[in-house]
């Protein structure tokens, strides 16, 4: 079994102590400096009583501090629970409770800090991350500098590959949030596969815009730290021209995005105005990229390798990739299985579907998750006989290349986000004026899908979209607020009363 990533990091840090590990808005951190930060946090957690397997949650934006806290949790024997930094307090508290985390690290300047501090279970230690902001009111928590002022000491705690390493929540419904559990072996295996096909080495550097709390960004972080590469962090894509300027100025070899990232860059920036000759490769995952968009990328960056990829959090991150030399011949394909993973397209009876016939993508390999945290029922629905049933529909061609045909689950993919309609429905249903609600994804050129809510009001006279959206803004992350709301007199249902979402989606076509 592969060595856990924390052990690999230690070896790399010893081999490349002065090499740049992470550059963020606060400065540049070499591998030695990052290792020192990790030792400080790990030493603190060990002294605070963290035992092997204990969960530690964190709400930290991409930064050297993120990597320090994340790897420190592993070094101390804990399980990371990295949470969405855009989430509201109610989701953060819900996930913290669900994972039974004993510690919660939160960025000092996080907009929900005060509410989290006020409502957090008393058994959970709240630790602020980063320099205090002057306007931040005093609240009960452990300040970051109590950790960083002390000399660090790495706990001597052997981690086994089979030990639980991380929980990644993919949705936040109140009743049963879905927490994907990954072992150290899962993470190491996926890192190995990705490094192999991307041919990553210590010479590589990446400009990263992807949030580390999602599996895609998580894999970018680990693949680079495991080989001694460098991560240059740019925390938002709001100003695309700045992003391309940094790709050129920092002379990075890699850049990763979702389809909307590339649509934004191609739409708002003339790439020919910049020297991108050092950019060896691009990766794209997080939803199907329209072949026309891939064509535009190829035309704009003829010397850069473009890797179209597909994956799921349940598979640690990555499942397939399209070798760059095949991108023209296999237009629209998500490629073949990554090294050390097996993919089959199966029909409803569980048999392998012949080429051209649509079935469900199933995967096996060391990267497949252990299951959903404390949810054997949901785990059993997707893990059968050592295979992950992804819920994504696809067919193969005669050469075994995969082509996505759709999804059998109703998750909405908007930009880089995978959104459970149920979460939004739960929040909207809280309003007294709402009788029934159904949320669906509708096609959008830039984002892939946008969120639309169909609402049956209790009183047809009381239909104020603003009230609905304001309530969503107060209780949901910004990307989960429905862009479109339609009031209707009744929802289409089957005879047994199940809402027919496909009928609502058809209304949009």
């Amino acid at each position: 079994m592969a060595l856990p990533l924390i052990d690999r990091f230690t070896t790399i840090a010893d081999n490349y102590p002065d090499k740049l590990a992470i550059a963020d808005a606060s400065g540049q951190y070499s591998y030695r400096q990052l290792q020192e930060k990790i030792a400080q946090v790990a030493g603190y957690l060990a002294a605070a009583g963290l035992k092997k397997g204990d969960r530690v949650a964190m709400v930290v934006t991409n930064s050297a501090n993120y990597a320090a806290v994340f790897y420190a949790i592993w070094a101390a024997g804990g399980v990371t629970v990295a949470l969405n930094t855009q989430a509201k307090a109610r989701d953060i508290l819900n996930w913290t409770n669900h994972s039974n985390a004993g510690w919660l690290f939160v960025d000092q300047g996080h907009g929900e800090f005060a509410e989290i501090a006020a409502k957090l279970d008393q058994d959970v230690e709240l630790i602020s991350v980063g320099a205090p902001k002057s306007e931040q009111p005093e609240m009960e928590h452990t300040p970051w500098n109590t950790i960083t002022q002390k000399q660090g000491a790495m706990p001597e705690l052997p981690i086994s590959p089979g030990d639980l390493a991380s929980i990644i929540y993919t949705s936040g419904t109140t009743g049963s949030p879905k927490g994907v559990t990954l072992s150290h072996a899962n993470l190491s295996a996926n890192v190995d596969s990705i490094q192999q096909y991307l041919q990553l080495s210590s010479e590589d550097s990446i400009l990263n815009v992807l949030p580390f709390y999602y599996s895609y960004g998580n894999s970018v972080l680990h693949t680079h730290l495991a080989v001694g590469g460098s991560l240059i962090l740019e925390n938002n894509l709001v100003y695309p021209h700045r992003v391309v300027e940094r790709i050129a100025n920092e002379a990075v070899s890699g850049f990763s995005g979702v389809p909307s990232t590339f649509a934004l860059l191609l739409g708002r920036v003339n790439l020919n105005d910049y020297d991108l000759s050092k950019l060896r490769y691009l990766t794209q995952a997080g939803g199907a990229m329209a072949p026309a968009l891939a064509d535009k990328l190829l035309a704009a960056l003829p010397e850069t390798q473009i890797f179209i990829m597909y994956g799921q959090t349940e598979a640690t991150a990555r499942l397939t990739y399209l070798p760059p030399e095949q991108i023209r011949e296999k237009r629209g394909s998500i490629g073949i299985a990554i090294p050390n993973t097996t993919i089959e397209v199966r029909d409803k009876q569980g048999n392998v579907a012949p080429p051209g016939v649509t079935g469900e993508i199933c995967a096996s390999g060391e990267n497949i998750m252990q299951g959903y945290w404390r949810d054997t029922q949901k785990s059993a629905q997707v893990l059968k006989d050592g295979w992950l049933y992804t819920g994504d529909l696809a067919h193969t061609d005669e050469d075994g290349y995969l082509y996505i045909d759709g999804r059998s689950s109703d998750m909405i993919k908007s930009g880089a986000n995978r959104i459970s309609p149920k979460e939004i429905e739960e929040v909207i249903q809280e309003l007294d004026s709402v009788l029934e609600v159904a949320v669906v994804g509708v096609p959008d050129e830039m984002l892939g899908e946008i969120i639309k809510a169909f609402i049956v009001p209790k009183d047809a006279q009381q239909t104020d979209k603003k009230v609905i959206q304001r309530h969503c803004k107060q209780n949901l992350a910004i990307y989960k607020i429905p862009k479109s709301i339609e009031f209707i007199s009744k929802l289409p249902k089957t005879a047994s009363g199940k809402i027919q979402k496909f009928q609502l989606q058809k209304k949009q076509a």
Binding site: G111, V238, Y239, R242, S260, L264, V269, G415, R470
Partner: protein, 81 residues
């Protein structure tokens, strides 16, 4: 209506979902306060281009021009000169 009032009303209506003027300070950073994300900024640009008959160049898409009502008002002022 002044440019500032037009922009304030647009942000209040479409991103804060209210007509309560006290919900937005004209100096508030759209990003720091979680009012807009990257697609929101693009929508604001389309609004400015339509409403004020200007063209926002790619190189002008920087926070100094777009990250608050005050920044936008000053930017539009410079563009209209």
């Amino acid at each position: 209506m002044s440019a500032e009032a037009q922009i304030r009303n647009y942000i209040l209506e479409n991103y804060l979902f209210t007509d309560d003027q006290s919900a937005l300070d004209s100096g508030d950073s759209f990003l720091d306060k979680g009012i807009l994300d990257s697609t929101g900024i693009l929508e604001v640009i389309y609004f400015l281009e339509d409403e004020f008959s200007i063209k926002v160049e790619d190189t002008e898409m920087v926070p100094e021009n777009l990250d608050s009502v005050n920044n936008i008002v000053a930017f539009i002022g410079r563009k209209s000169q």
